[in-house]
């Protein structure tokens, strides 16, 4: 299904969010598809659930996301604010040029801790 869906131009049909908690303080949110004004509330819910369960830091895996608009950026920044209040942080995982472009153009590449892989991001959270 992946290949055919991808070749059909990234409709929001392909969108998915999954959650995991590798340790009590760290919430992991993995997103697939396009994050826009329609889909971003689902990312927001997944992030909120982790905070409510007691997480202080989040890792948001954007490695399968190729579209990120201001609605998604707004939610990531709001999550970062919340995490910092709790003494934690929000780490992003991506190597996608389009996502890097959006983060750079908005200056948010300097605000978020960005990793190329999930392992790298998890190591950073453990080191703290």
């Amino acid at each position: 299904m992946d290949e055919t869906q991808a070749s059909r131009g990234g409709t929001t049909m392909d969108f998915g969010v999954s959650s995991e908690r590798p340790s009590p303080a760290i919430g992991l949110v993995s997103v697939t598809g396009e994050i826009d004004v329609y889909t971003s509330p689902r990312v927001r819910s997944a992030m909120l659930e982790h905070f409510e369960a007691g997480c202080t830091s989040l890792v948001v895996d954007l490695s399968s996301v190729d579209y990120l608009d201001s609605s998604g950026l707004g939610i990531l920044v709001a999550g970062l604010k919340r995490a910092r209040e709790l003494g934690g942080e929000v780490l992003l995982v991506t190597t996608k040029p389009r996502i890097m472009r959006v983060l750079e153009v908005t200056g948010l590449d300097k605000v978020f801790n960005i990793s190329a892989t999930m392992d790298e991001a998890l190591q950073k959270t453990e080191r703290k």
Partner: protein, 143 residues
Amino acid sequence: MTTPIIELRVPCSPEYVSVVRLAVLGLCGRIPLSYDEVEDLRLAVGEACASSVYRASQVDSNNAHIQVVGAVDSARIVLEIRDDVPLAPETESTEEDSGLEADFDNQQFRVSLMQLLVDSVEIGEAEGGGQIVRLVKNCELNG
């Protein structure tokens, strides 16, 4: 604006913004823009639509629509994104009771993002009271 060549009208609600983005992608197939330029334009159009959707949600505008008019020639692509959501007087943004405020996700940020992505952004009031956003992306010839 040069001769309008495509017109698209969708409901002003979140689930239709991706329809507009796909149509713009189709239109961009007709002009000499690079992959990144097309994606920048697509993102800018998405922001303009998100702005309309946000304003509609603030005033409970269930029957609002977004209309997109696009014109291309060899030198540039011009897209006008127009809605029929009454322009509200400036108000303080109201806090939601949600616990994860997207207060960063505001209209001014959308405008700044559009300005970073395309060559010209003009925002005005449409006849009848809605918003018009006019985006221009210049094409590098033989680029």
